[in-house]
Symmetry: C2
Subunit: 378 residues, 2 copies
Amino acid sequence: MKKNYLLTPGPTPLPAQVLEALALPIIHHRTPQFQAVLKEATEGLKYVFQTKNDCFILASSGTGAMEAAVANLLSPGDVAVTIQGGKFGERWTELCKAYGVVPEVIDVEWGKAVDPQEIDKKLKANPKIKAVFTTLCETSTGVTNDIEAIGKVVKNYTAVLAVDAISGLGAIDLKTDDWSADVVVSGSQKGLMLPPGLGFISISAKAWKLIENAKSPRYYFDLRKAKKAIDKTDTPFTPAISLITALNQSLKMLKEDGLENVFLRHRKMAQAAREAMRALGLELFAPQAGSDVVTAVKVPDNLDGEKLVKTMRDAYGVTIAGGQAELKGKVFRIAHMGYIAEFDIIIGISCLEKVLHQMGYKFDLGAGVRAAEEVFLK
Amino acid sequence: MKKNYLLTPGPTPLPAQVLEALALPIIHHRTPQFQAVLKEATEGLKYVFQTKNDCFILASSGTGAMEAAVANLLSPGDVAVTIQGGKFGERWTELCKAYGVVPEVIDVEWGKAVDPQEIDKKLKANPKIKAVFTTLCETSTGVTNDIEAIGKVVKNYTAVLAVDAISGLGAIDLKTDDWSADVVVSGSQKGLMLPPGLGFISISAKAWKLIENAKSPRYYFDLRKAKKAIDKTDTPFTPAISLITALNQSLKMLKEDGLENVFLRHRKMAQAAREAMRALGLELFAPQAGSDVVTAVKVPDNLDGEKLVKTMRDAYGVTIAGGQAELKGKVFRIAHMGYIAEFDIIIGISCLEKVLHQMGYKFDLGAGVRAAEEVFLK
């Protein structure tokens, strides 16, 4: 009878409509029926990406779509700026290295957003830089970078801007076209309220020029093949049929709410989470650039952070995330993204209070929930 | 009220138990709950692969797993034998070329199986050959290659044997270890009765040695990362959680029946399909090496093959496959693989008879179904 609640930054909980679509009998992918599904999904993605650029659906996790960006844009020996500041920013650097691309790393302190002027300096100093790889929301630290400001910098150069929006797309604002984000990468298991297994990528005209000349090996992730196929409402390889069918359900929900309202819901939940943490006397890991999709919180010095997360999950069924890499045991992270709403946040805070209390942490019981309620009442 | 029947060689129909598993609430992948799921899936795959080798589950379609084989085994400039004879054999050649590997192509006539002695000649002539890439069942022609005989040849050389068993695994016999198949690749949407979206790959000790020295760029499909992760019952990137949960359902069904019985069912269905085609006066495309998972049939000269397939699907809800690439319009293909049983084959034959009759083809109505029934009665 233990009831489970998922408050992790991917996977996020699945709406009943999505679960229902996943359980439908499978259809063949080379049929008019599936073509209609694929067309609707591609158009729906463009709405969420806020773009007129080409959008592709890959059968992979988000990292596969990140690899597609690197392998399609660049050739061995090319130079690219990568912006670190968390585990996922570092992934861009690792991907560049795997493909023989020389990364010019901007190392941002974990918990801070990148200063767009740092990017400008790099691009000014080396006109050979072909791409800038950055992250919309760095899930490992709960930081959101200012993509609009970064786009204003990068568009003055020949380099393209590639954004990992795996965490954040469909939850916080990302105006792909207006902000000059040439390549935007995402995944299914976050703001899009689906199981993991789909990667997404959008490509601008400026990025296509690089792709046509890039010499990195690629086949499964070759976007030239994907483009040829989608022009005939097809995919180069067998698509993840059931996930794409379910994608149309979540896209429909996002459209019905309207992106602006979806973003507002996330902003409110994030504010509530932050205020609750402050009311509990806890310190936010990213007090300045805190993201609206996940809140990272410092574990008080005398508490065992891993035990906190484990107890919430194993004893009470509330799954939040611990810290990753160098933050292991030092932070916990509460997600407020995707099919998560106001009262789910209340549950997360209430369970946190329960376990903090049991672990001997001193605070005013109920203060976190009350602070969140105050935000939601506004 | 139109009822639909799927008789295509991937995707194949999904059992209710699989659909039910797909509709379960999602769980987080870095939890003991998911670790138990992953462990069970990996062990179950080893049973189906008939191997003690490492087995990995990738979030990709089967082609992604094929790319993993090429990118992990080889370096640019390496030489490999690729065995063509259909669209999927050609894919190995294309993958090698994409990675700068020099393919020594054995071009088999479409509809025939490869002669293992041809492989022996190639390997004898060039000791630099590092890998042989072949196909268990060539879905585009309905041919099964003799992997046991090929394995006996290749094991005498330093080259490794890599088998695309996307079509066939879990439906026809493939003794990975006993037949010296160093690398076996598969996918979820065929014999394993799942939606597309998972790739599988097994790696022998002989293959690991190549992998450790290979210099092709890879990241998402890097099996060194996958090995490090699976040793801790983990995956390097977010796994396709719901598909893996459903995989355990289909693996359970395969185990309950027992592989031998599963293979027998497929053999009987294939015999029934072949006898039915002969009884209808139709010619098999691969009369010698016809596979037990899909039967390719020549379209009679005066009939429109594409119209035949389209009418069966659009007018009567029975989806079979047409011809691919150079066989477009020249053959049709009836699958008997995965969650397809005796009476599904009867439906396929009956619908074929109906449309053949309507298209003016002369034959004894009911003869196909009767021939199939005779096989099933034995």
